[in-house]
Symmetry: C2
Subunit: 192 residues, 2 copies
DNA sequence: GGGTCAACCAAGCAAGCGCTAGTGTAAATT
DNA sequence: AATTTACACTAGCGCTTGCTTGGTTGACCC
């Protein structure tokens, strides 16, 4: 076994693992399947990852970290109005859900497969992301753009967005920007 | 092996299976675990179910059918206004999510473990349920209560509701009725 | 030009998996 | 009284699983 560095090789392997985890689910993806997809033998896998669990952790960590980066960038670039920031967050969320789709689907469906330590570590990453949302929601509430409980609104909105991985078809007529706009319009009490 | 009747015994076994599926996930729940929970030996399990897959199907079918029944009853009992019907649906949805929580969590997380035939059969049940939602949403649109695309609104709302299984704590201060009210208020452009 | 090291392989172990075959038995049915 | 039915048991087959072991390869370093 090896150290748990983040070599470029390992990053590529993580990307491929994500794809298989989406297709078959974590439990049904065997180390032999993973190895074959990576073009190596199953034994060699354990040179890069301590065990199968660590591959799952790597996949989810990668996706969550990207989401955080994209969301922060989106907030820095957009206008300062509460509505613009709300929409920027929604769009960023949907875009990550698309570009890192595999990783996020894995995070949504296989979270419970993480062992307690990994779950604890990744929870902090996710909390940092959700904190961004709550900030933006607070601003929208303060601006009178939306009403209600900040906790509930944040969770309703994230639920609506995360659910899109179930039905959204990227090759369809609707763009992520489109969806973000519709969602913001739906919850906005002051039409613009 | 036996016929696939719906004896009371089988119903009870299905309920217990749902619990284990939630705790460990379908793939990690072994037939030996199921049997032990049911107080029998693993071989005896196959007297009641053709195979492990059929247990999963039974769990999901049970939950979905209940959701349909409860939603229909809620719509029949409530006022005729678009808003009352919208809220009745939301509340019914949240109540099923609570009373049949195990079955619904399984449906949400283990849907992909179903074989094609079972998935096809259960899809129709689910479609019937979602059709109820679209009717109610259409009425709300016609009444000017909400705006936007019926398809998108329906999916956003169901996403927000289904996401509650991730964070909602039934022992907390908020009732399902409470949540339903907040959700309807959030998407309603004409405050009441 | 000996040493180091990441990367890989071949072979296989121990455990656990879903499921089957064959049998026993008490209650219900004829 | 004879037969069927429902439900449970024991024993284990055949297979797959995650992971380990011991060793090879080739690129780079002083």
């Amino acid at each position: 076994m090896n150290v748990m560095n983040d070599s470029p090789r390992r990053k590529e392997l993580t990307r491929q693992a994500a794809q298989l985890f989406v297709q078959a689910g974590f439990d049904r993806t065997t180390v032999r399947m993973l190895a074959q997809e990576m073009g190596i033998k199953s034994g060699s896998l354990f040179h890069h990852f301590r065990d199968k669990q660590e591959i799952l952790t790597a996949v989810i960590e990668e996706g969550t970290q990207n989401a955080l980066i994209i969301a922060k960038a989106a907030l820095e670039q957009c206008d300062n109005s509460a509505e613009a920031r709300l929409q920027a967050m929604a769009r960023a969320h949907l875009e990550t859900l698309l570009t890192d789709r595999n990783a996020h689907v894995v995070a949504l469906y296989e979270w419970r497969r993480l062992d307690p330590e990994a779950r604890d570590h990744l929870s902090h990453l996710r909390d940092a992301y959700e904190a961004l949302w709550e900030t933006v929601i607070d601003e929208a509430l303060a601006a009178g753009l939306i009403h209600g409980d900040r906790f509930l609104v944040a969770r309703f909105v994230m639920g609506a967005l995360n659910w899109t991985v179930r039905w959204y078809d990227p090759s369809g007529p609707r763009s992520p920007d489109d969806l973000a706009h519709e969602l913001v319009a739906m919850i906005t009490h002051r039409p613009v």
